[in-house]
Symmetry: C2
Subunit: 325 residues, 2 copies
């Protein structure tokens, strides 16, 4: 949660003026996004019609190069019926603009709330929405290399160093080094792939009742195995807060929901336990790195890597039992 | 800016369920309020009608005792035509509820943006809205003792200590101790008084074009001289960011706007320079105290007391010239 940049109403009005959306009538900095600043804004046209948007200012340089991919993906998915917000283009047709040396984009506002304790019906709906996204992404003509794959986990863990990791949890170094070797020898190959969300936590899903009204925050989207994206979603949704206990009803509903839209191949089903172990390593490695490297006075709440060592332990023990297909 | 408490959608839904406002369909933590957490929420009734509200959770114990005053004041002012948001009452008629040992209130959402660099037309509108508030407050049957008056400034400054203040600015101790004695000997008495906002910075005013659409954040409201409230507003609006230079066009418009609704008595007009010096001391003392006592890792951005030593210096030098009546 953060608003890194303070923009005045006059500055926000100047940004909004580049879009054919009417006059700015409200703007609230919102506590969302870990590497960008966001405002929930409202504009009003002369005929009185008002519309809401999310205005995002990208704070990290790295995202700028990928913005045409991220924003183009939103447009493509929305056009193909997946529940994601559209990018609003400016009067010149550009998907993003630069303001004060930073990129800004105007994104459709979608209603819905992010649940903390999903019901099976909600998990079913999330599974279906994820599969819809995978199907819709098939015709998207851009791609983005996975920058948070096995090689990145390995790099992040080595950057952390044994001592700093042991300060988080004495067992952490053994766990992660052992797991990285196991994954290197057991990572599947040749599964159906395409653009994946790769970070579909409950935070990034908006719900209206039991239905998904929006999937948001595609800033980790990359080409990968669809089944890996499903495994990430499984790891993100099927456990109580803190990473335990496992919720089998949610797992069953998530997988069933996914398969209402897209049937897993036998090879995908077979690979799910290994992919879920990889999903845990993905979040253990980035969280451990951030835990060790985030200054104490940062505005961002640090996330505990141990939430995912618990899940990893569970996936190691249960293997296919965690995936009731 | 802060969201101190994390509430899940389920918890927010539970809170909102106590009000006759429909179902929660959106909730965004917003970066407003320095001692409370705020969400911009949207609810939808069965007939499809949707409404927005600000949900506030009060984080500091001290405000709880004063809540009936603050929330009752909003209702009273709104009923009497002043541009302030109403308090929404729950199904049992209560203006606030407690949730998880903290008080929460549901407040009407008003459109509008807070300007950084006001135009004279906007300052005129602010003056008029402040006077409307003073007139409307006359029939309010509750009162609240000013807890941020001369005695409090003195206490805060003494708590800061000379050495810590000198670390902010070598001249600060002499300035404030000298000013406190001057104010003690020159503070006016017997001026028209009633409930005042006492903190009407641009942040706390919502504007639609040149018109005030809302005055918000009444959590420093207290009984005091109306002319002191006008002096606070003068000190808050009539200078460029950082406390200099002075903007005479804004001062003239603010005072003229105020007098379209309420004419200042000769004694009030005469007292304005001293009251403005007091207004500066009010913000110097609280900002110096917070500057010295806020932990480095706090989520709240510290405000520089020197913005108001510059204004104080200006008021000392110009006296009545700063108040073109």
């Amino acid at each position: 949660m953060a608003v890194y940049t303070q923009l005045s109403a006059e500055q926000l009005g100047e940004i909004v003026g580049a879009y054919d959306v009417g006059e700015l009538v409200s703007a609230k900095g919102i506590a969302e996004g870990v590497s960008n600043s966001n405002w929930l804004i409202e504009t009003r046209r002369e005929n009185g019609e008002s519309t809401r948007f999310i205005l995002t200012m990208y704070e990290l340089r790295i995202e700028l190069d990928d913005l045409p991919f991220f924003l183009g993906l939103l447009d493509h998915l929305a056009e193909h019926g997946a529940p994601v917000p559209r990018t609003i283009h400016d009067r010149n047709g550009a998907a993003y603009r630069t303001y004060d040396d930073k990129a800004v984009a105007l994104i459709e506002f979608l209603p819905g709330v992010s649940v903390d304790h999903p019901t099976p019906a909600q998990a079913h709906s999330v599974g279906a929405a994820l599969a819809e996204m995978h199907l819709a992404a098939a015709s998207f003509d851009q791609s983005r290399t996975q920058s948070m794959g096995l090689g990145a986990w390995d790099w992040l863990i080595n950057e952390c160093g044994e001592q700093a990791m042991a300060a988080i949890d004495p067992e952490l170094p053994d766990t992660v080094f052992g797991e990285l070797s196991w994954l290197a020898g057991n990572w599947p190959g040749g599964l159906p792939s395409g653009v994946c969300h790769c970070d579909l936590f409950p935070d990034n899903v908006l719900m209206l009742g039991d239905e998904v009204s929006g999937m948001i925050d595609f800033y980790f989207a990359a080409n990968d195995f669809f089944a890996y994206d499903l495994a990430v979603t499984h790891a993100a949704w099927c456990f109580e807060k803190g990473g335990a206990p496992f919720r089998p009803d949610i797992a069953e509903a998530l997988l069933a929901g996914y398969q209402t839209r897209r049937t897993l191949t036998p090879a995908e089903a077979d690979a799910l336990p290994a992919l879920a172990r990889g999903a845990c390593m993905r979040f253990i490695s980035s969280r451990a790195y951030d835990w060790i490297n985030t200054p104490a006075d940062a505005l961002v709440a640090k996330k505990d890597p141990r939430d995912f060592t618990r899940r990893l332990q569970f996936y190691r023990e249960t293997a296919h039992a965690a995936f009731p297909l």
